[in-house]
Amino acid sequence: MKAFFKRFARNKGAVIGLIILAIILAAAVLAPYFYPTSPWRMVTRPFLAPMAMDGYWLGTDALGRDVASGVMHGARVSLIIGLVSTLTALAIGIPIGALAGYFGGLLDDALMRFTEFFQTIPAFALAIVIVAILQPSLFSIVIAIAIVSWPPVARLVRGEVLSLRSREYVQAAVVIGQSTPRIILTQVLPNTIAPITVMASIMVASAILLESALSFLGLGDPNMMTWGYMIGAGRTRLIEAWWISFFPGVAIFLTVLALNLVGEGLNDALNPRLSREGG
């Protein structure tokens, strides 16, 4: 564990990413403490520029809602959706990939064609359709993101399992008479954790982007203030009131960047031999 953190810390970008992520997480957790009232509430006059009035550091939007409150409350939604939808995608992708990779043959063909079926549909279009059909809500957005993002997981796990399956320790487990589900769960899957962890961190980032894009189009959960919604709402006044869209945009940018940096750091730490020399 110590060696792991040491390798992780050697990647400066990853440490910065982790710090940014910690700040965003703190913002999400502390949002109700700083802004106990709903971010939807109109608190003062509209189009207030940033720093123009004490207490409203990031200004207000077209209806007089506090942008800072929106950004902080939006962090909760973004992080929750990013995390839950990634976990859901993993829950779909890992079993499919593991079965396809371990058993091969017809089952592999069937599962991979099924996976390709999802991969050939443009992800964003599919997500829009799913959310539109299920009605926009936190639940439907998570489902939509999970459905469009599991295929790469299945592919990754299948590839890993394919190579692990022929390892001698897996054959040894067959020879001692372990049952197949046990072999997959105890011998094969634990050894795929490293690449899955790395991929998951990047998936959280892309899930946040997807959710923002959906909210931007007005397909977000109508009861939740999200970054995408704020950008979408402010886009018509971009020239005269740039701050309405700008700050949630910065929040998305920082979160996604931080997650990617952390993902890179995890990659270096989990695959020490593949990391760049002297990095």
Binding site: A172, I176, G177, Q178, Q187, P190
Partner: protein, 536 residues
């Protein structure tokens, strides 16, 4: 004339390594047309020496003193550009793995031409002519065809010949060969050794030959340097070192080389048959996606043998002979196409996979690669206990048994809670053996169990296997490519060629009077067979 003079060379390892220097105070000289063998076990620093000469040290390893002079010119401290000019023109190198040292997407001719191009020598026509000359010189049949071929179309031996052609293209003064025959079959190895020997005589090339195999040393070395943990413990003329070793370590290494003379046979009369195999067939391929078209490989054809309780049957052959497939078919890790397999009084063939699981404990396997055969994420104790647990032994009992077994294989019960990466190759192989024994099998299939280990460790593992056999009455199917190992541990030996057993005789008889021509060629190819090596 001295071509390479290494004087008091030290190579510093990074801070956290298990020793300060990869190589310490090493001095060597090679004259033109001579071969110097650097011998040592893994981690002795022999490859580092070779890489230091050609300037390809890993970035973490730095020369810390001494000098390397090539034909009087100091190599340490040369810039990358100068070193690059030197490589190929003055020093050629052959690597261990012929499968990965050629670029798979380039034609053979281009890979040789590249050498001339990077040194801006000759015009296009001369380059082409020289390429064909080289291919012919390294003994490749039909150079025109080979020149247009891609690496995957050639066999391992042919690829290594191409590597030699590349290394010798510019007639370097020094040729470095880093274990060039380790990945090859014995008969191919013999041919490659002969080729290197002929070429250095003809061109007066000095050869720095890195190897772990004293048989190879006996075959080609003029001088020998023995390395142990980065220190040169003994050096001198080959015949002297091999016959009158002075240092203890050299003596130990020589003693660990298995002799080709088999020990007296065991008395096995009256022992029951533990494993009977009849009529075993297995063919790979032949079922392409578009129907037909793909190549069929016969891996086992009418294979039949019997092993008694307490007996070891050796299955020897070159790579691709089907010996591993036979081992795996018997365990039903690979489904045989046809065959009769009986373990003790239980018929093993044709049993549906579901009902096979409880029967599996009767026959167990020891794998080749001690680094790949243990799950890196489980403790050693769990790895061994998993077997009995899979056969419904309660967990506490299985773990107690695991600790007993660790004691039995000489590792100590306390190692149960450690992870595989904390152990050396030999220790891991002991863990693999303990895992196989955890189920009290009647039959053990050992698939090249010592071929990934250093000679001294190899000897210990072989002793352990034989000792366990005596105590537990195991019947062992010993799959190996190494006739020296087979001579020491096997009671009878079956020689396999292209999926068929061509000869099956008691060991002593097979070595004294081989009947099949293939057996004879295998025996003739064992390196150092005719050279007398000092016994300790």
């Amino acid at each position: 004339m001295t071509v390479l003079a290494i004087d008091n060379l030290s190579l510093a390892l990074p801070k956290l390594a298990d020793r300060t220097y990869a190589v310490e105070g090493l001095s060597l000289d090679i004259d033109a047309g001579e071969t110097l063998c650097v011998v040592g076990e893994s981690g002795s620093g022999k490859s580092m020496t070779a890489h230091a000469v050609i300037g390809l040290l890993p970035s973490a390893v730095k020369p810390a003193g001494g000098s390397i002079k090539l034909a009087g010119r100091e190599l340490i401290g040369l810039s990358d550009g100068e070193m690059r000019k030197l490589r190929g023109r003055d020093v050629g190198m052959i690597f261990q793995e012929p499968m990965t040292s050629l670029n798979p997407v380039m034609r053979i001719s281009d890979q040789i031409l590249e050498t001339f191009e990077s040194h801006r020598m000759f015009n296009a026509q001369q380059r082409m002519r020289r390429t064909f000359e080289l291919l012919e010189e390294v003994g490749l049949p039909d150079p025109k065809y080979i020149a247009r071929a891609f690496p995957h179309e050639l066999s391992g031996g042919q690829r290594q010949r191409v590597m030699i052609a590349v290394a010798l293209a510019l007639e370097p003064k020094l040729l470095i060969a880093d274990e060039p025959t380790t990945a090859l079959d014995v008969t191919t190895q013999a041919q490659i050794l002969k080729l290197i020997d002929e070429l250095r005589r003809k061109h007066g090339t000095a050869v720095l030959f890195i190897t772990h195999d004293f048989g190879v040393v006996a075959e080609i070395a003029d001088d020998v340097a023995v390395l142990q943990n980065g220190l040169c413990v003994e050096s001198g003329r080959a015949e002297e070192v091999l016959q009158k070793p002075t240092h203890d370590y050299t003596k130990r290494l020589l003693a660990a080389v298995p002799s080709l003379t088999p020990p007296p046979p065991k008395d096995l009369s009256g022992e029951p048959d533990a494993l009977i195999v009849r009529n075993l067939h297995k063919t790979y391929g032949g079922r392409g996606f578009f129907g037909g078209g793909s190549r069929k490989v016969v891996a086992a054809k009418d294979v039949a043998f019997t092993i008694k309780r307490g007996e070891t049957l050796g299955l020897v052959g070159e790579s691709g002979s089907g010996k591993s497939t036979v081992g795996r078919c018997i365990l039903r890790l690979i489904e045989p196409d046809d065959g009769f397999i009986k373990v003790g009084d239980t018929e093993f063939h044709g049993v549906p996979v579901r009902q096979l699981r409880p029967l599996r404990k009767r026959i167990q396997m020891v794998f080749q690669d001690p680094y790949a055969s243990l799950n890196p994420r489980r403790t050693v104790g769990r790895i061994i206990a998993e077997g009995p647990e899979a056969q419904d032994v309660p967990r506490a009992d299985a773990e107690k048994r695991a600790r007993e077994l660790l004691d039995l294989v000489g590792l100590g019960a306390s190692s149960a809670h450690r992870y595989p990466h904390e152990f050396s190759g030999g220790q891991r192989q002991r863990i693999g053996i303990a895992r196989a024994l955890a189920l009290d099998p009647d039959v053990l299939v050992a698939d090249e169990p010592v071929s990934a280990l250093d000679v001294s460790v190899q000897a210990q593992i072989l002793d352990l296997i034989q000792d366990l056999q005596k105590r537990l009455g195991l019947a062992i199917l010993f799959v190996t490519h190494d006739l020296r190992v087979a001579a020491q541990v096997c009671d009878r030996i079956a020689v396999m060629q292209r999926g068929e057993i061509v000869e099956l005789e008691p060991t002593a008889q097979l070595f004294a009077n081989p009947k099949h021509p293939y057996t004879r060629s295998l025996l003739a190819a064992v390196p150092g067979a005719h050279v007398k090596v000092a016994a300790a």
